[in-house]
Symmetry: C2
């Protein structure tokens, strides 16, 4: 999806702006064959331009050429998709010349995709592609028309005789319904794993989980009373619990635990990624919890919790794992390197997609 | 789609950032019932914060409170969707707290949606909604897998007996395949007009038109040889020229003229919005043009050119209108108030959707 850049006539741009107001066309980020990256930014009068992000061990200053273009080339980086931003005279912003944006409510960052020598699991590969659809459903719980994204697998037939299992996949705390695809590339991960027959063809539903002011209880109701019925009315899906999964990251991981473990008759698979559980709802559901472990273990085919050892929630997640184990709930843990990042999220999802609906 | 904002625990956010690095949660833009708008931005140490955009006659300075939050309330604005940006100590950026982004390759701006007292033609209304799908097609012309967006109307059946007409809709010069939906709300305009029976149910295909280095000839080939065949293989569509339309804005308007008028056997409807025609391709196709006007007028059911009187291309468009008329090509012009803006684009599209496939 990389764009090609060149000097385009400045008048081509939208808006009645004059030529003088428009910066020159700039190629940023430029990912080289050796996986080094050149970042560029035009600011004739800036005093300082810095690039920062999880791909760098520390922020890196850029230098200005005589045309007012700041740039820096950073050494080769491990292939992955990383967020980054520029800091221009102390003002943080997304790279104006990069169309790839981290979908988020509270910051604007860019993302850079460093391809692997062999295609990574999240890469756009030459395989059959599913369809990613933006749908609008009426939430009676929330009294609003809301957006969700639906991935249907390659070969999907809306009116066919094949019925599909469904994964409900929830983003992190200030993310949006687009973050799992724009940053997490969930649709490409599914395409690639389905092409290799490592994942079962499935529908993936990505709702918007930031229900306020009560994110946990109201979103659980929206999921059960509105989202699942909307999907079941509009797609040919299998409706028993063994063909329904819920997964989510961070706040969405906490929502996953709350939704899944209080509805084990409805979800045969529960996958929490670095779940954030310091919430009233989690306290309410699990602090004086006396679960019927035998029943839950019989209902839930697979319950997993994934976390990175550098994740700021690592200790909290370990406590939750211990709590679930102490209650004799069967839980599989994936403790991996890495932090509370979307680099890790993609790996967690790739693992889940290979484990569910088998 | 307005999000609700409140003070969320800062730890909820993605990334291993510490609390100190995170700005407070901020509601911006806040659109009031009287259509005034409050913009907010957090910057404890900034010297100057300004909001600018086509909704303002001039940039407006913001003022800082003791918590470091800059804000300004601008007087009521005519309901519409407008781009805007902040300028912080001379650095222009999108509003970090607004998820609505102007999809563009060369700048990052936010958009603000001021609802009408009666719903506007582009508003998300309580009507049946079509589906907006992100699809991936192989371009043999360009040797790449490329993205396009496909709107299918409410009630669409992929394998049904109903076959649909198709509008191919092209963005402006530095826009992306998402600009017609993210900024132009083409899918909501179609939903609303179809619900009122003012538009015929149709498929709308929104490709990525910025083919470089030769945007015009190579994109024309991609359209004819790759995009149209992909749609015709994957959707139940009518394939005669009377059920195929092409429309586009600015550079995409120029592409529309080049694609449509050199393929009048394939496009029964051609709609150019503020077309940019100072291109080699336009010169090649139309400078020594001796068209068979009778044949073209018989093939093309409707050829329209729309432009605003304040558009920087207004004089150029008038010359092109005169040229087409001089060649006896039947062309309908819509000269309206307004500039080279996406506010105008939405109106141009709403007009086209009511005219085609009738």
């Amino acid at each position: 999806m990389k764009r090609w850049y060149c000097i385009l006539p400045v008048l081509l741009l939208a808006g009645n702006a004059t030529l003088a107001q428009r910066p020159p066309s700039i190629n940023s980020p430029e990912v080289k064959a050796d996986h080094s990256i050149t970042f560029r930014y035009y600011a004739r009068n800036a005093q300082s331009v810095i690039v920062k992000g999880e791909l760098l061990t520390a922020p890196v200053p850029m230098t200005k050429d005589t045309a007012g273009i700041w740039s820096v080339t950073v050494p080769p980086v491990k292939p992955d998709i990383y967020p980054y931003s520029f800091v221009v005279d102390n003002v943080e912003l997304a790279d104006p010349n990069n169309t790839l944006i981290f979908a988020n409510e509270r910051f604007k960052r860019s993302i850079v995709d460093i391809p692997g020598n062999e295609p990574l699991v999240h890469a756009l590969q030459n395989v059959p592609h599913g369809k990613l659809s933006y749908r609008y459903y009426t939430s009676t719980t929330l009294g609003a028309t809301r957006t969700l994204l639906v991935y249907t697998p390659p070969g999907f037939m809306a009116n066919g005789t094949t019925k599909y299992p469904v994964l409900y996949l929830i983003h992190g705390g200030s993310d949006t319904e687009e973050t799992w695809t724009k940053v997490g590339r969930a649709h490409f991960i599914a395409d690639n794993l389905i092409a290799k027959k490592l994942a079962t063809p499935m529908i993936i539903v990505m709702p918007y989980g930031n229900v306020r002011p009560r994110p946990m209880p109201d979103f659980t109701r929206d999921m059960i009373d509105d989202i699942i019925p909307f999907i079941q009315s509009n797609y040919p899906v299998l409706t028993d619990s063994k063909h329904r999964a819920v997964a989510g990251f961070s706040v969405g991981g906490g929502q996953t635990l709350n939704i899944g473990l209080t509805n084990t008759d409805k979800f045969g698979y529960i996958a929490a990624y670095a779940p954030y559980t310091a919430t009233e709802e989690f306290q309410k559901n699990f602090s004086n919890w006396s679960p019927d472990a035998g029943k839950i273990n019989a209902q839930v085919k697979l319950f997993t919790i994934s976390v990175g050892t550098e994740d700021f929630l690592f200790e909290s997640v370990k406590k939750n794992l211990a709590m679930f184990k102490e209650k004799n709930i069967r839980v599989k843990s994936y403790i991996v390197p890495g932090g509370h990042t979307w680099m890790n999220c993609k790996q967690y999802l790739a693992t889940t997609l290979q484990e569910i609906f088998k």
